[in-house]
Amino acid sequence: MEKIKIEKLSLVFGKGKAKALKMLDQGKSKAEILDATGCNVAVRDANLTINEGEIFVIMGLSGSGKSTLLRCINRLINPTTGKIFVNNEEITNMSDKELLNIRRKELAMVFQHFGLLPHRTVLSNVAFGLELQGIEKDEREVKAQETIDLVGLKGYENQKVSELSGGMQQRVGLARGLANSPEVLLMDEAFSALDPLIRSQMQDELLLLQEKMQKTILFITHDLEEAIKLGDRIAIMKDGEIVQVGTSEEIITNPADDYVESFVENVDRSKIVTAGSIMFKKPKVARLKKDGPAVVLRTMRDLGLSSMPVVRTNRTFLGFVKLEDVVDLKKKEIKTIESIIRDSVMTVNPDETVEDMLPLLSKTNLPIPVVNEENHLLGVVSPTSLIAETTGKDKGEINEIIQKAIEL
């Protein structure tokens, strides 16, 4: 179900917005508009749908408009044009009173520099949102204490926040957001100010919490690793535009343009790319009952294969036959290939990552079969493409290397 919908949203900073908007319509670039009008286009014609219960990550370089877009959702900044819906209610035309209400009840925010009240204790910071709603002290403190326990700050409730470490302060920030029981969490580079170790810890905890809570989370970062770790889906922004939306794998295996590619080129692909995306789909197969050695041999010679997967008629995977065995069989004039199937091969499912598949390479020189839950063959991953994925070299180069190795 869709939770947040952003439609044709643009945001221009500066005076003389009308002219800037007109130039936007004409498709002029951010730099051209800045030159001509002095206006800064922070977000440009953004369209997004964020589903209930997902962690949606917005990524992009500094100044690409991530924070601005996020702040439009709770209208800390008012968009210049376009609409935003939360639960199918239009945020962009709400009165101040309705807006206060939705900020109090449905949208909570976590900030990069925490934004806590330094003169108050952890408990009263966490209870702050409830206090603004006018909830009685006893009641709000009970609720705040529950949330403090949830984020692992039990025992710190009476400390002043200025006395806590960065990681702990951000736990307070997170607890403050959760104490309101919002449906949506807006997190603007929430972990960017933390040490790498603490940061990774907080990411794990957020994922754990999310398993329990199933909130809709909008998370901003400029760190791809973080985006991949947290995001169910990722949107990439450049100069105010959303240039690509997709799962991390979609983005990595199929970057929309050079900008996205430059983002993803340094990522450790072997952790993200899966069998499903690099397998050779619908390979030629030998059907157990139907194809005899003569047919199999001809197909293999035609395609230049040294091995071929064998399936039952319903595509259940059985194993491989090797070229030399088939030749042998034909010489002996045996009519079925059943006796030569090598069935001791490991199968993988399509979500297995390249990293997980690498160890299989040392056990077999056959392609790796990819099967679904019913053990139906979906495709095969050749050792060459597996190595290509991990090294980043293309298949031609790898074949050359292998060839040289054989010659030596």
Partner: protein
């Protein structure tokens, strides 16, 4: 001078048309001052000394409490106790009014750009004027006496608290303000729960300055008939009685130090707690 003529006719117009208003202010202020003065000159000196010393002990520590005690006892033995209390009462009354107007003005100018762009140059202008220039409109509106003295003092002493209140609020980190808004605070909640508490040390520094400037102006205001230590100093000057002038001046300085120590630490104490 043409400008002088315009000002004069402007002031005349004000006094003609708003004499009712000035009379109202006059009565209001004089009864406030009288009330405060009746209290401080009414209670026995040792109770006053005890009160001040206790306050200093609470807010400014033991060293300043001793200083306060010694200073006040010294003033008592100079024989100008009553004048000192008159001066103090006038400072208190003027400062209360200056703060009551100045703090809201400061808040307003922090929150509203237009207000800020009007208030700021006026404050600059006010601070560059020599102190006794304020005596002139005060006399024109209220004649001679204590009330015009207080009026001039209020005008003179108000700028620092306006400025520092505004500054304190503007200095509240933007991310805290943003977070507060994001959780659905009304502008009022933002002010009361976040901006004022965080700006408090700065505002209190402004309060201290306003009180100190009130004291200096109250002494000058004796030129137009305000009662208190200023009268003694003025007598000393006009009658060339150096000893008298010196004693009066010393009492002013002691009172200034005591008030400064106590009010200066208002803010710091608050922060430490």
């Amino acid at each position: 001078m043409i400008i002088g003529q315009y000002i004069e006719s402007g002031v005349n117009w004000l006094t003609d048309n708003f004499s009712g208003l000035f009379d109202g202010i006059n009565t209001g202020m004089s009864s406030l001052i009288e009330l405060i003065e009746a209290f401080w000159t009414g209670i026995p000196f040792y109770i006053t000394i005890a009160l001040f010393t206790a306050l200093a002990l609470w807010k400014a520590g033991r060293k300043n409490a001793v200083l306060t005690l010694v200073g006040l006892v010294f003033i008592y033995f100079t024989g100008f106790w009553e004048e000192t209390m008159q001066t103090f009462s006038l400072v208190l009354a003027s400062a209360i009014i200056a703060l009551a107007i100045g703090i809201p003005l400061g808040i307003w100018s922090a929150k509203n750009k237009t207000a800020n762009s009007i208030i700021r140059p006026i404050l600059d202008f006010m601070q560059t004027m020599p102190a006794f220039v304020y005596l002139i409109p005060a006399v024109l509106f209220f004649g001679l006496g204590t009330v015009p003295g207080a009026f001039a003092t209020i005008i003179f002493a108000m700028p620092p608290v306006v400025r520092l209140t505004s500054l304190g609020i503007q200095q509240v980190p933007e991310d805290i303000v943003e977070a507060t808004k994001a959780f659905g605070a009304t502008p009022r909640q933002l002010l009361v729960k976040v901006q004022l508490p965080l700006a408090m040390p700065t505002i209190l520094a402004g309060v201290n300055q306003t009180i100190m400037m009130s004291l200096s102006m109250v002494v000058i205001a004796s030129m137009i008939g305000a009662k208190g230590l200023g009268e003694i100093v003025l007598q000393g000057i006009s009658q060339l009685r150096i000893g008298l002038g010196f004693e009066g001046g010393l009492a002013v300085v002691l009172l200034a130090i005591i008030l400064d120590r106590i009010t200066q630490n208002l803010g710091q104490n608050q922060k430490k707690k």
